[in-house]
């Protein structure tokens, strides 16, 4: 990259929704504005000189229907009056909107049109029942195909993938890995006070998981509810800065992580996935990002991946080359992706455990990696080996349509 790019001052709101003790669907709750303000303020409070921010990018997927609100760029100045009369825009790429906000910020810093960009992600989805939310989320697919798709659109898509996986690699083998994925997600979420599953106290997570056989009569054929991320409200924010930008902000490098490579690929939304057993776009985007960073997957210390469904977690393990096709489930079942495993993944719970405020997820992933690489992860902190000072995040929009992969490196200076 032509300039060094850093990430600093990440912050998340709580991921609000079922599972949180304070969540009551019958009572009025904070709106979109409140989430943007809270996460944005929490970022600004961490830097001595927030007026150094040149630009704001807000990632969001479907506020236009969930909240009847478009034009989110206009909310930047509600975070801080200093952000008014500066560039601000919103970006959308379904559940990869947060990742796109970061990419957009990186590009701006690379283009030298900004030294500091505030990248935000936000989604407030508990405004409608899940069954109508499913309609809205389905806009991430090709609408011409909506008629023939499942009532619960995304669970339907990934249920189909899971069904093929079961058939090819064995139901029990797959479910074992998926159940372990669920367990890891909840256990990690318990360590992060902002996680949606932070209050989860279930004793035997895998037992609970395996007790519930997928039932297509009420839901989808091949997944149960524990295979799915929940409906979430939340926002995340983080600053993207050049070296010059860090100085202007008054932040030492040791508090930041460096972005040493990224990639953003998109596949043709009007086509079905080329292979239901593979997250092809993730495979290709991650490979490109690692190539740009000049490192291999084995050098990565921790990964945040887009587990909107447990099967997506398994398939991304394979797409990243951590396990061969068909061996992802066993890899996970063996504990290799657990927080004390060889490749800790989704250390604050991921989408299933931390929550999935769709447009915010990509930013939340970056915040988690920044926390881990700067030893800011609190109870969720993992021990990173000095030989593997790298992090990787994979943010996916739609059924493997838009993917953002970012490679991060610890700053030791």
């Amino acid at each position: 990259m032509r300039r060094k790019i850093y990430l600093v001052a990440g912050a998340n709101t709580i991921s609000m929704g079922t599972g949180r003790k304070e969540f009551n669907p019958k009572k009025e709750r904070p709106g979109l504005e409140s989430y943007i303000h809270e996460a944005g303020q929490a970022v600004l409070k961490q830097v001595p000189n927030p007026s150094a921010i040149d630009e704001t990018v807000i990632g969001n997927f479907m506020a236009s229907v969930f909240n009847k609100q478009g034009h989110l760029g206009g909310f930047a100045a509600t975070i801080d009056p200093d952000l008014e009369f500066k560039p601000s825009l919103s970006v959308e790429g379904a559940c990869a909107s947060g990742g796109l906000a970061i990419v957009s910020g990186i590009r701006s810093v690379l283009a030298e049109t900004a030294d500091v960009v505030l990248a935000m992600g936000v989604e407030v989805q508990n405004t409608v029942k899940a069954i109508y939310g499913a309609d809205f989320l389905a806009y991430a697919g090709w609408f011409q195909n909506r008629k023939k798709s499942h009532a619960y659109f995304f669970p339907g898509q990934f249920s189909d993938r899971a069904g093929v996986y079961y058939e090819k690699y064995g139901f029990d083998n797959a479910r074992k890995g998926m159940g372990r994925w669920f367990k890891n997600a909840i256990e990690n979420a318990r360590l992060d006070p902002t996680a949606q599953e932070h209050h989860n106290t279930a004793a035997d997570l895998e037992g609970m998981y395996h007790k519930m056989t997928p039932n297509g009569k009420n839901f989808v054929d091949h997944l149960n509810i524990f295979d799915c991320s929940k409906v979430s409200d939340g926002a995340s924010g983080i600053l993207i800065a050049s070296e010059e930008g860090l100085k202007k902000l008054g932040i030492p490098k040791k508090d930041a992580v460096e972005i040493i490579g990224f990639a953003q690929f998109t596949r043709n939304i009007t086509n079905d996935p080329p292979n239901p057993l593979e997250l092809t776009t993730i495979r290709r985007t991650a490979a490109k990002a690692l190539e740009n960073a000049g490192i291999s997957i084995e050098q990565i210390g921790t990964i945040e991946t887009h587990d909107c469904f447990s099967i997506a977690g398994i398939l991304s393990v394979e797409a990243l080359g951590l396990a061969a096709p068909g061996e992802g489930a066993a890899y996970v079942a063996a504990g290799k992706t657990a927080r004390d495993g060889v490749m800790p993944m989704n250390t604050t719970g991921g989408l299933i455990g931390w929550g999935h405020p769709t447009g915010a997820t990509g930013v939340h992933q970056a915040v988690t990696i920044w926390q881990q690489l700067t030893a800011n992860a609190g109870d969720a902190q993992i021990k990173l080996s000095p030989e593997k000072p790298y992090g990787l995040s994979i943010n996916m929009g739609g059924d493997d349509v838009t993917v953002v992969a970012i490679v991060y490196k610890m700053c030791n200076e």
Partner: protein, 445 residues
């Protein structure tokens, strides 16, 4: 005439009432689902919602819309298949809206009973008055050329009496929903000696389609549910009267209600249950049942005098509890009616005295909402009631006597031939009254 044809033209009498509206909702949804079957394409389904109250019928349509929406949301996976051929319906919201329309257009609200003259099946849910029921059913039958079937929701009147007096000859049966019909899974099914086999088979098929639990009861006034509840209520009332010899009446009512709820681990105390059903309804059902009982007097002068003073209980149309024996705030009892001063006495004013009588709650106590979820209920209740039996407190003693009496009522229903077996009695109380354990048990002996 097959099942679908029988359900092509139906009337519900008393459709705006608490029971009638629920029966109407469930029937409307079942008819809508039939109308959407490919083989029924082009056939018209009609469900008359008949009631005396115009206002009630307006409210009924609001209720239906809200409820059908909820039902549609729950079966969206199936509905997407049903409407698969309709290219205009793409999103879940489109499909749900269409299903509501398809259901509501079957329903014809009216105050004119004559529309029932064309029906093939008639649900009767008018007030619990035998003469009124007989009059309406016979009038419809005399004017209806279809030889319709009559399903009465009576909870107390023997079916054969309605059958004989309205001259329905095998075309009537008791199909007794529990309140509220849309939620409660229990249906008591009562046939007479003459009821046609095909009619009772249809009733079973219909109950199954509605996912109801059917308990067959013999055709004896009150059947199983009220057979138990009325006697249990009378027992509670008399216990309170006994207890009021040594303490204020309001306090006595409070204590019996408390013991019957907490110590017996039931969803409501007996006086709250009487209020829930309605003081007037309880009195009326006892009055209907009493003439048929040989060796007992199912009558409470206290209920008579409460009603004379205008204390009725029952529910507001919103579902909120009206004041009866007890006065409610946000659903919880806060005061008790005192017939002497004709006013409600705040629970707080006698709480100390009441707590003294009750003593500390025995250690093994689990409230009903917790106990109902315990996997091994048998050992839990066995331990709990053993603990009560070992105690000397008046509350524990009352609870054990109460439990024994409830058990005896259950066994008597079987001995008298009202219920076919003890299991049926327990099913009715577990399913229809949400008890956590059946009244016929070995916990109290």
């Amino acid at each position: 005439m097959n099942y679908d044809e029988r359900l092509q033209h139906v009337s519900v009498l008393g459709a705006a009432g608490k029971m009638g509206s629920g029966i109407l909702l469930l029937t409307a949804v079942e008819m809508a689902d039939l109308s959407l079957k490919p083989e029924n394409k082009g056939k018209t389904f009609v469900l008359n919602a008949i009631d005396l109250s115009d206002e009630g019928l307006s409210g009924l349509m609001d209720y239906l819309r809200v409820q059908v929406l909820k039902i549609a949301e729950k079966k969206i996976v199936w509905l997407r298949q049903v409407y698969a051929e309709n290219a205009a319906l793409i999103e879940n919201s489109d499909i749900i809206e269409q299903y509501i329309l398809d259901t509501l257009r079957i329903v014809r609200p009216t105050t004119a009973m004559e529309v029932a003259y064309r029906s093939k099946l008639i649900f009767e849910a008018v007030s619990e008055n035998k003469d009124l029921k007989v009059k309406i059913l016979s009038q419809i039958d005399q004017n209806n050329p279809n030889k319709p079937w009559f399903f009465t929701n009576t909870s107390s009147v023997p079916i054969h009496i309605i059958e004989n007096e309205a001259e329905l000859e095998g075309r009537v049966l008791g199909f007794h929903f529990y309140n509220p019909p849309a939620v409660q899974r229990l249906v008591e099914l009562i046939v007479t000696e003459k009821t046609l086999a095909e009619t009772s088979q249809f009733a079973l098929d219909y109950a199954k389609a509605l996912k109801k639990v059917v308990v067959k009861s013999n055709d004896f006034a009150g059947f199983i549910g009220n057979g138990h509840f009325m006697r249990d209520a009378l027992y509670g009332i008399n216990k309170a009267l006994e207890l009021s010899a040594g303490r204020p009446f309001a306090e006595a009512v409070y204590l019996v209600n408390k013991v019957s709820q907490d110590y017996l681990v039931r969803p409501m105390g007996i006086f709250q249950l009487i209020d829930y059903v309605g003081v007037d309804v309880v009195q009326f059902i006892m009055k209907v049942m009493n003439p048929f009982l040989k060796d007992e007097n199912l009558h409470s002068p206290l209920l008579d005098s409460m009603l004379e003073m205008g204390v009725k209980g029952g529910q507001h149309s919103s579902g909120a509890q009206k004041d009866g024996f007890l006065k409610y705030e946000k659903g919880a009892p806060v005061a008790v009616f005192d017939p002497e001063t004709k006013s409600y006495i705040a629970v707080d004013s006698f709480k100390t005295a009441a707590e003294e009588w009750l003593g500390t709650m025995p250690a093994g106590f689990q409230p009903w909402r917790v106990a109902i979820k315990i996997a091994d209920k048998d050992s839990h209740f066995s331990a709990w009631f053993s603990e009560l039996k070992s105690l000397n407190s008046p509350a524990a003693k009352m609870a054990v006597e109460y439990g024994l009496n409830s058990d005896a009522i259950g066994r008597k229903l079987v001995a008298d031939g009202v219920a076919f077996n003890e299991n049926d009695v327990n099913t009715v109380m577990l399913t229809g009254f949400f008890h956590a354990y059946g009244p016929v048990n070995n916990f109290f002996a």
